[in-house]
């Protein structure tokens, strides 16, 4: 019998809600989150019981222990982290990890800003290399510029997609709040 199960990591900007829903559902079938990597989520076999998951985005420096302790004492068990992304699980009915609108929205603003920065930097590099290439007649410089251009182009697209995903999510968030 297989003891591990994997979910594809399609980027939390695009499918945080989907991943959370899947994890909630899988807990009832006896699978719990064990690890997150750039490409996938690893789940291991466990006792089947209903859990709810939550993800927080927070750059933790020196107060790591305090952060996890605060979650623990309100019933949220730390499952795994990947960089600034932290996953928690709790029993149904546990108080939500964010109870105020201001800080909830800030969670998404911080991630959006991060990707927006990488979008601006890679896009300016791309434009700059394009312009310089026109001027360069030396083949070595030309090659170097070409390489920088390719790398920038490779970063521009995902950054742009993630930024747009967050902008759309922000709009959705605003509408949801208006409806309340």
């Amino acid at each position: 019998m297989k003891n591990n199960k994997y979910l594809l990591n399609m980027g939390l900007a695009f499918d945080e809600d989907r991943v959370i829903k899947r994890l909630n559902k899988l807990s009832k079938e006896g699978w719990i989150l064990n690890r997150m990597t750039l490409f996938r989520y690893k789940l291991t076999k466990a006792e089947a019981k209903e859990l709810i998951y939550a993800m927080d985005y927070k750059d933790l420096k020196e107060s790591k222990d305090e952060y996890f302790q605060i979650f623990e004492s309100s019933g949220w068990k730390h499952m795994c982290s990947y960089g600034p992304f932290h996953f928690f699980s709790a029993l149904p009915g546990t108080v939500a990890i964010y109870t105020d609108k201001e800080n909830y929205l800030e969670k998404y603003k911080k991630t959006k800003d991060l990707y927006f920065k990488s979008l601006i930097i890679s896009a300016s590099l791309l434009i700059l290399t394009g312009l310089l290439e026109k001027l360069a007649d030396n083949t070595i410089i030309d090659r170097i510029l070409f390489c920088v251009g390719i790398i920038s182009a490779a970063i521009v697209m995902p950054s742009l997609m993630v930024t747009i995903a967050y902008l759309l999510r922000g709009k959705k968030g605003c509408r949801e709040n208006q409806n309340k």
């Binding site: 107060s63 222990d65 305090e66 302790q69 979650f71 004492s73 939500a96 990890i97 109870t99």
Partner: protein
Amino acid sequence: MARGKALDEEILTDSTYYILLTLIKPIHGYLIMQRVQELSNGDMIIGPASLYTILKKLQTAELIKLLDDEERRKTYVLTDKGKDIIKKDIIRRTAMVEHGKEALKFLEGIDSNEK
């Protein structure tokens, strides 16, 4: 910067108000949520991500300070600036409630006349 925006204006959100109320005496960070719930008879509940973020903001704005820095059991308390701001906000909120009471009396008067 968005950080501590509500704090600069010295108008506290309800969550921040209740958190500051628990900090008049030194308290461990993780005990604040339970204390707020007791203090408000369960009307105000604060989630861990909100609490952690607000604590960091209050610390940056120097409304609270860390007492002893054992990594896992951080203890916070109000600074003088924090005491000042919470006092002002209690007075502001009390005044708002007083204004509301007059309106409530008036509205209830209308209700009982109609019956």
